[in-house]
């Protein structure tokens, strides 16, 4: 019965999204003066950047209205393809499948990299482990190790925590860190970066991962292959588990959308990116 | 030679501020049928329910005085309520069978006292049902639901259920008011048959019924006992004007 509610809610949300989307397209024609409306949706990882930049941009240009929704990377790309938003946020690169599908419907998925994001491997502060190799991380998440003392740590069972299989963060972890090996089935799956951090904080034997922006002093990030998960190391390309954060548009951005994306890529915009705990593009 | 079985001494009862039983002194004789009659609301049911401490279940009820069963005060702080209720059984105005089988209804009293032996239970169930004149009607369906019986049968089964405890006294509160004339007649005859075994106290609105079956009659009016005596005497030469009026149907 709960299910029916979920489905009805989804239908309602879709309907509203379409309605809102249609409205926007009409208004977009207002031209390149700083007046108008931008809508975006997609990755919850990109959400804080988008939101903070939008606020600042609207402060400077009071006649501009930017609305930001989440939904996840796939939603962002889907919405661009459906033409319901101007910007689709994605914490991963568009897949070949998606690009082809877009082409079929006459849409050119154009990638604007607005920030970099490193995924930090985190453990509980009580854990004495400070460095793991990618191979060790893979062995841990495939269930080959079950106690930290096998890795030189304390005698404590390893509690595996991962982001849910449908999150963008999982995808990056699965592809970059795990090299596409299946995570063992007893791994706990949590639904958000915050849930991952909270769970690691509360669980002495836990290991998990989260975007650099979500780190707090309550959890301990470990080195990967001897490299600290810092912004500098991500930028220089030394840190292994990193990804790009994208704002997709239909073709190269134009008009007010271009002004907005240029704003994010400006020094001022990139400061906001850093403030949100992400890493600037250059 | 008649023996006094129950005596009430200065029995007073209130429901919150409502003074319902006014300082009653009353006697029930062993192996006799005593009828309680009187207009509606005068306290007959309340008096009856005092004898097996059913009023204890009503939080608003306050009771003073004594009720002596064979000299023991049933309201004594040391008295065991469940023991009182086993010795003084009750049958209600409307048949109230449990939604269980006939067998389990009748065996209930024994079962809650921990009797598990099937032979004992079988014997008691059969004997009680025979005593209540319903054995022949139900012996082939003991394990069907008691709710499938007719109203009159249900009431006799309730009498059997009470008899299974082998009580000294049986309290009947208008036991036939919900029944048809034929079932009523059967229960009246049953009462007369039972009085060799058990003392009966019956509340009834049916004056003729009181006349037919009882040995003693008590007339209550507004919480007082106005008149008590052998039924024949009360019905023919009532001492009190109000008794006479009630019996002749002037009020009621």
């Amino acid at each position: 019965m709960k299910l029916t509610k979920v489905i009805l809610a989804l239908v309602a949300i879709l309907a509203i999204a379409m309605f809102v989307g249609c409205n926007n397209q009409n208004q977009e024609q207002t031209g390149s003066t700083l007046e108008g409306k931008i809508t975006m949706s997609g990755s919850t990882t990109v959400l804080p950047i988008a939101q903070a930049c939008a606020e600042e941009f609207m402060n400077q240009n009071p006649k501009v209205n930017i609305s930001v929704r989440g939904g996840g990377s796939s939603i962002g790309i889907k919405d661009i393809m459906a033409g319901t938003v101007e910007i689709g946020n994605a914490s991963r690169d568009a897949k070949g499948k998606e690009i082809n599908k877009a082409k079929e419907s006459g849409i050119d998925l154009y990638q604007n990299v607005v920030a970099n994001d490193g995924i930090a491997i985190i453990v509980n502060p009580k854990n004495t482990i400070t460095n793991l190799t990618l191979e060790q991380i893979q062995a841990i998440y495939t269930g080959k190790y079950t106690n930290w003392n096998e890795l030189g740590g304390p005698d404590m069972n390893i509690v595996l925590i991962s982001r849910d299989t449908s999150s963008g963060t999982y995808e990056v972890f699965y592809e970059i860190a795990m090299k596409k090996q299946n995570i063992v089935q007893n791994c706990i799956m949590v639904a958000s970066n915050n849930a991952a951090v909270t769970s690691v904080k509360d669980t002495p034997g836990a290991i998990s991962y989260a975007g650099l922006g979500y780190l707090s002093s309550s959890v301990k990030p470990v080195q990967v292959n001897g490299v600290d998960p810092t912004m500098a190391n991500v930028l220089s390309g030394k840190y292994a588990v990193a990804r790009k954060l994208n704002m997709y548009t239909n073709g190269a951005p134009q008009g007010i959308t271009k002004t907005f994306i240029d704003f994010i890529l400006s020094d001022e915009g990139q400061k906001i990116v850093e403030k949100q705990g992400f890493i600037k593009v250059k | 030679m008649v023996k006094e079985l129950i005596k009430t001494k200065n029995l007073k009862l209130w429901f919150t501020d409502n003074y319902v039983l006014h300082d009653l002194d009353f006697t029930v004789y062993e192996k006799k049928i005593t009828a309680l009659i009187g207009p509606s609301g005068c306290g007959k049911s309340t008096l009856l329910r005092s004898f097996n401490r059913m009023n204890d279940l009503i939080p608003e009820c306050k009771i003073e005085g004594e009720i002596l069963l064979e000299g023991q005060n049933i309201y004594d702080s040391k008295a065991d309520v469940t023991d009182v209720r086993t010795k003084i059984g009750m049958v209600f105005q409307r048949p109230n069978p449990f939604p269980k089988t006939i067998y389990n209804n009748v065996a209930y009293g024994l079962q809650i006292r921990g009797e598990k032996r099937k032979s004992v239970l079988d014997d008691v169930v059969e004997k009680s049902l025979r005593d209540a004149w319903i054995w022949d009607e139900v012996k082939d369906r003991l394990h069907t639901s008691a709710l499938s019986l007719s109203g009159g049968q249900q009431q006799r089964m309730c009498i059997a259920r009470a008899l299974a405890n082998q009580p000294k006294v049986l309290l009947l509160d208008e036991p036939t008011s919900a029944l048809d004339p034929k079932s009523t007649a059967k229960i009246e005859e049953l009462c007369i048959d039972l009085k060799d075994k058990v003392t009966i106290l019956i509340v009834t609105h049916n004056i003729a019924q009181a006349g037919r079956i009882s040995d003693y009659t008590t007339f209550m009016y507004l919480g007082d006992i106005i008149e008590f005596g052998e039924t024949k005497r009360v019905f023919t030469v009532p001492k009190d004007k109000r008794t006479e009026d009630y019996l002749t149907g002037v009020f009621g």
């Binding site: 489905i7 449908s166 | 009470a162």
Partner: protein, 288 residues
């Protein structure tokens, strides 16, 4: 005029009834239309008997067995907790508490029923899980045990209020009959009152079951989300609802993964349908 009113009344109630039936069929139709296409690429055997749920990996697999066990485990756990406590509460309120105590307890339990499930989830995640790690020495607090407690607390009000309704409709005459035969309060409650209210009480368990198995937010937050067949109550599990709700947000419309989530929904639907059917049959028979 009178005739017209009569017809109007009939029509209005008729359409009201038709509407809910249409809604039901609409939902069932959606489920099957979106769920069946999965079986073009995934065999029914894999779906029902494999426990490998890897919907987004390179080599996708759609074995729902672990998810089925996940749902079952937390629901049974919740009932184990909520049935005795809910029934106990109902008995206390209806049979034992004085009218003043009743006035205090009843609204508090109703308040418990009014708490949104996400709040229960937060309680489980932020308080109960770490509490259990510290106090009973388990490795992780996100597991069947924690989820069962939280879900159990959540369905206590359902079981207690519905059971209490059932208990309070047991006629006074039956209680008096029992007391009149020398039964104590305990004997009266256990041997007469509860058996007489059996239909309503079992109904409350079924309702609680339905609520627990359909609950989504709480299990997302505290059940651990691991798609495995559990071997202990302290194992994390992934109930069907978790997969449906969490994965629907990110899946590509029309993909097998998308259809597989509807197939999970069909499974959930069939479980509740069979449960309802069985109770209906069972209760119906007993009442007759």
């Amino acid at each position: 005029m009178k005739v017209f009113k009569e017809i109007l009344f009939k029509a209005v109630t008729y359409f009201a009834a038709i509407f809910s039936i249409l809604a039901l069929f609409g939902i069932i139709l959606t489920l099957f239309m979106e769920g069946i296409p999965m079986f073009q690429e995934v065999s029914l055997r894999e779906f029902l008997f494999s426990s490998a749920w890897y919907p987004t990996n390179e080599h996708q697999s759609f074995g729902a067995l672990a998810l089925f066990f996940g749902s079952l485990a937390v629901t049974i756990g919740a009932l184990v907790i909520a049935v005795p406590i809910g029934l106990g509460t109902a008995v206390y309120i209806s049979e034992i508490a004085g009218s003043r105590t009743k006035e205090i307890i009843k609204p508090m339990i109703e308040l418990l029923a009014g708490i949104p499930s996400v709040v229960y989830g937060l309680f489980g995640m932020a308080f109960l899980a770490p509490f259990l790690i510290r106090n009973i020495g388990i490795d992780s607090g996100l597991n069947i045990f924690t989820a069962s407690i939280v879900l159990g607390i959540m369905i206590i009000p359902i079981i207690s209020s519905m059971s209490e309704d059932a208990l309070s409709t047991v006629p006074r005459a039956l209680r008096e009959a029992s007391y009149g035969l020398g039964a104590t309060r305990w004997e009266t409650i256990t041997r007469v009152v509860i058996p007489s209210a059996k239909t309503g009480i079992i109904g409350s368990f079924v309702l609680g079951f339905g609520r627990a198995i359909g609950e989504t937010m709480v299990v997302i937050m505290v059940a651990g989300g691991a798609a495995q067949i559990p071997s202990s109550v302290f194992d994390p599990v992934r109930p069907l609802t978790t997969s449906i709700a969490v994965e629907m947000a990110e899946t590509v419309l029309g993909s097998i993964h998308f259809h597989s989530l509807f197939a999970l929904a069909i499974m959930l639907f069939i479980i509740t349908f069979i449960t309802n059917l069985f109770t209906e049959l069972f209760l119906f028979k007993k009442v007759k």
